[in-house]
Symmetry: C2
Subunit: 395 residues, 2 copies
DNA sequence: GATCTTTTTTCGAAACTTAGATTATCTTCT
DNA sequence: AGAAGATAATCTAAGTTTCGAAAAAAGATC
């Protein structure tokens, strides 16, 4: 019952323009004529609106297409060079900065290694700021053309200008990444949990594409989920929704690094799986170890499938989504070999009705999609808040 | 990424009119002047819009209020007699039909007893249709003035015109309640799960009021939940979202009547609690038995609190709501005595961040609110789809 | 009764979409 | 080669809607 927003006649324009742009981005290239059909707007409106967008060079012409004996259609598409988005992946071992054009083609990247147990916020912030300069210089893009910077970080990210981060593994508690970066750059910032940015990538460009309501499940060392209904992500009142990894599946069960007991993460998190199987967990080589374990026929694998199935079933019962996408490096590893078993386990533990309505699929994007997803936050902003004309660089 | 809807300038009007009406309903009576502040619309717009609504007699004047030396404000409010809503509660033992005006004041009711194990759909449909006639005759309201009929039924309700119902306890599987009723009346119908209509009542008129995002948890013999974000209820792709009772909290745990194992309902459902305590469950007298058990100091009570806490914690972690409302007859019974313990148990099993953002409160409406909530579905429709002027009865 | 104060209505302007007419551009038939 | 036909895109006029400002309404105060 939040106070609804008043609408004025200009919001109509804004909304329609955003819709047109979004349509063109995902279904483009398309002719003006196609757009009238796709958007439901009248030909006149499409014409004036595309005119505006063309003169702002947000969209460009993309060749012609013959019609059976009439004026040929001229195709339009979003100008990938209208602006650029930067995505940053802050992980345990590295900080990676990538530069994308609006078509999400990678133009440049740079990576800084982090020494383990040396996660100084200010150092990382310096890496990010330096990385931004480097990728821009590499690609020869002036910073005025960058629409924003998305940053994927570990832990819980609180909303607000400061983007306070709580990440136990990094020893961060209330670290103001937002204000630290804002001190060094004036570019618009979008900070979110790295798993969630990866999910964002999967949702927009991977297996989640086209689903009206979906849950993207992310399994790595940690475990999380994104719930999307009608295209919008469930964020929760303090933006920490989706902590799927810490729902309890066994009351009084295994201890979890969050301090609780019986968390799902304590059974299906990569670290937890290996620990349960008694595999020596060297700090590196987890991926290999897990891959090896999966082929070993260990009973732990079967157990893991059951727990994962239960976790998915809980989502199915509670959210009743159209699609569940399994992602994260450990999730992909598990899914590759065991997807049918996982599906069965989920079915065994959920109600028939909602289970029948849900398809469980594997993510298509690798675990490297964190930066891509972070950049997608910028893209999302660009597509929804209808952009005005670029102010040309003074001079 | 569902196809977004085009907007035309008339949608603006519709939206603003709906917003104004909603504001007036919840914050009324209010003067035109107050409304400009509350809605953010200009005085001019409020004036023309209230003019329309007044001449349609959707709203009426409600006295004046002096101002410090100026023209006195005339107060406006929604006309409670503009139309009427009927709410129906289909339960194990009875079918109850209630008539409300738009202010949700009950004007008439009628109840039909059901013999246990005699849940013939057609009989129940006949009871409902007869009940509608009876309450209308009692209150002297012509049926043209009824805006719709809301029906709360057990089990899972599938969307669509037929309103297919799956209710194991009634032995219903795919019962087309919607089309059965539509054969006997031309009034608009809204069919939903009874627990959900009760939640709807709690959300609109009980403890959920004013919360932007909330979860309403319903514990009776069965267990369910409604998740509300930004004022809209999460329904899921096949409208069966919110099956909180069948999330698994103990892998391989107690058998549930759904056929699964370790369901939450198998621990905190009223029937399950009594069974675990070894209380003889006569078909009647459950409420008394449960109330007695709660005072008995049985260890089962403490266990129940723990399981309930886990269930709530899972919601908190996953959804991160602003408020959780505990309802349902068993939920109210538990909460009355044990709310602090329940809160503690929820806190013990959820992450600190989201837990701190959530307040856990007790429902205010009794278990009789099913029919009220069903009628609220009609009210919701009335307030959101801006109603046109009533076509006066021919004559 | 004149003046002040506050509320409500009226009026013209600006923004937006639409339907229908018009112009542009290419194909095909004679 | 030129006219006719067909399809695409633009232009024009009309109809909504909200908004700001000014005017009108209605009572309080001196």
């Amino acid at each position: 019952m939040a106070t609804p927003q008043r609408r004025t006649v200009r919001d109509v324009r804004k909304g329609n323009r955003a819709m047109l742009l979004r349509t063109l981005y995902f279904d483009g290239p398309a002719s003006r004529n196609d757009l009238t059909a796709l958007t439901g707007l009248s030909a006149a409106t499409v014409s004036t609106m595309t005119g505006d967008l063309l003169s702002d060079s947000i969209i460009v012409e993309a060749g012609q297409v013959d019609s059976d004996g009439g004026r040929p259609r001229v195709l339009l598409r979003v100008n990938p060079r209208y602006g650029y988005a930067i995505g940053v992946d802050v992980a345990e071992t590295h900080v990676r900065v990538e530069l994308f054009d609006l078509g999400m083609t990678e133009l440049a990247r740079v990576e800084y290694a982090l020494r383990p147990a040396r996660h100084d916020v200010e150092l990382i912030a310096r890496h990010i700021l330096a990385g931004i300069d480097v990728v821009l210089a590499d690609a020869g893009i002036p910073s005025e053309q960058v629409l924003g910077v998305g940053v994927g970080v570990p832990g819980i990210v609180e909303s607000g200008a400061d983007a306070l981060i709580h990440a136990k593994t990094f020893g961060w508690d209330g670290v103001p990444m937002g204000s630290l970066l804002r001190a060094g750059t004036s570019l618009p910032l979008f900070v979110d949990n790295g798993a969630k940015t990866m999910g964002q990538a999967e949702l927009w460009f991977g297996s989640g594409r086209g689903a009206g309501s979906a849950v993207i499940v992310l399994i790595g060392s940690g475990v999380g989920a994104m719930v999307i209904t009608d295209g919008v992500t469930l964020r929760g009142v303090s933006r920490s929704a989706g902590e799927w990894g810490h729902i309890k599946v066994v009351v009084g069960g295994r201890s979890c690094r969050c301090g609780g007991q019986g968390c799902l993460e304590a059974y299906i998190g990569a670290e937890a799986i290996l620990a349960r199987a008694g595999v020596e967990t060297r700090t590196s080589g987890w991926q290999e170890a897990l891959a090896q374990l999966l082929t070993s026929g260990s009973p732990v694998v079967e157990e893991t499938v059951t727990y994962l199935g239960v976790g998915l079933a809980n989502l199915i019962n509670l959210v009743n989504p159209e699609r569940i996408v399994i992602g994260g490096w450990a999730g992909l590893l598990l899914g590759e070999r065991l997807l049918p078993d996982i599906r069965r386990a989920a079915g065994d533990n959920s109600l028939a009705q909602p289970f029948a309505a849900t398809s469980i699929v594997l993510g298509r994007l690798g675990p490297d999609a964190v930066a891509l997803g972070a950049a997608t936050l910028v893209l999302e902003q660009f597509l929804t808040s209808t952009p005005a004309a670029r102010i040309p660089a003074a001079g």
